[in-house]
């Protein structure tokens, strides 16, 4: 596994995320896949939600996760039965709300993109104190360009520069090729 360290000023959003993932990692392997990855690494942009992908787990494990999050200041719109059905059976996103302004969008592994993200996740150690897992840039960067909104392109450029030292360019290029995206514009920097 790749491990990186960063130092940063901890924001209110970071605190909520660290609290959330410290509970999550006791129960399931996860990876943060959203724009929060760029924010964590220093990009200054607003976000309302944090997208997190988790591997598929049995009902008993999911129930323990649900209970621990519920008793730690996080709120669900659904009871456990519906939470489990939406997340693991119907493969829909489930919102989990915090006491603050931000919420978490949880989704479970359903396709080969997701498998790649979980299996190649990167561990980030923040200020020698917190740890969390983020999605690999080899997929994240072409995927963001594929999404194509202006904020996605900004994130892609930002992440490309940040991960220059550890990204596997050959793999990233092959993934980009497979989804029909050219990285030429970034590679010419």
């Amino acid at each position: 596994m790749r491990v990186i360290k960063i130092s940063k000023e901890i924001t209110e959003l970071d605190e909520i995320v660290f609290k959330f993932v410290s509970i999550l990692e006791k129960h399931v392997r996860y990876v943060i896949v959203s724009g929060y990855v760029a924010i964590l690494l220093g990009e200054n942009r607003p976000t309302q939600d944090v997208d997190i992908l988790i591997e598929n787990i049995e009902k008993e494990k999911a129930e323990k996760l649900y209970e621990e999050l519920s008793s730690s200041g996080f709120y669900f719109a659904e009871n456990f039965k519906d939470f489990y059905r939406f997340l693991f059976e119907l493969k829909e996103k489930v919102d989990i709300f915090s006491e603050k302004l931000w919420y978490f969008d949880l989704k479970s592994v359903k396709d080969f993109f997701d498998v790649f993200s979980i299996e190649n996740r990167i561990k980030v150690i923040v200020n020698e104190r917190f740890q969390l897992f983020i999605s690999p840039p080899e997929l994240q960067i072409p995927y963001k360009i594929y999404l194509g909104a202006d904020k996605d392109l900004k994130d892609a450029a930002f992440l490309y520069e940040k991960f220059k030292e550890i990204v596997d360019r050959e793999k990233m290029r092959r993934i980009a090729n497979e989804i029909g995206i050219s990285l030429k514009v970034l590679e010419n920097v």
Partner: protein
């Protein structure tokens, strides 16, 4: 807004949206690489599976995005 999106070019997108963020990233504290561990992940096998499934995956992603985004500028055939 949509007119602008359709009239723009990949160079403009690069200048307007991407290049500033390359420079911003350079201004932020560097990441420190602690470990580049070996991975047993079968990348070639995965890529073959992706190839078989990608049409369905990409179709699903597309449905959630507005028309007129910038993706078309990055399509391989455009280069």
């Amino acid at each position: 807004m949509f007119r602008k999106r359709f009239e723009t070019s990949v160079e403009e997108i690069w200048k307007e949206y991407m290049r500033p963020y390359i420079f911003l990233a350079r201004k932020t504290p560097k990441i420190e690489v602690v470990e580049i561990g070996r991975s047993d992940f079968d990348f070639n096998g995965w890529l073959e599976n992706l190839r078989a499934q990608k049409k369905e995956i990409l179709r699903r992603i597309k449905t959630f995005r507005e028309p007129g985004n910038f993706r078309r500028f990055f399509k391989v055939k455009d280069f």
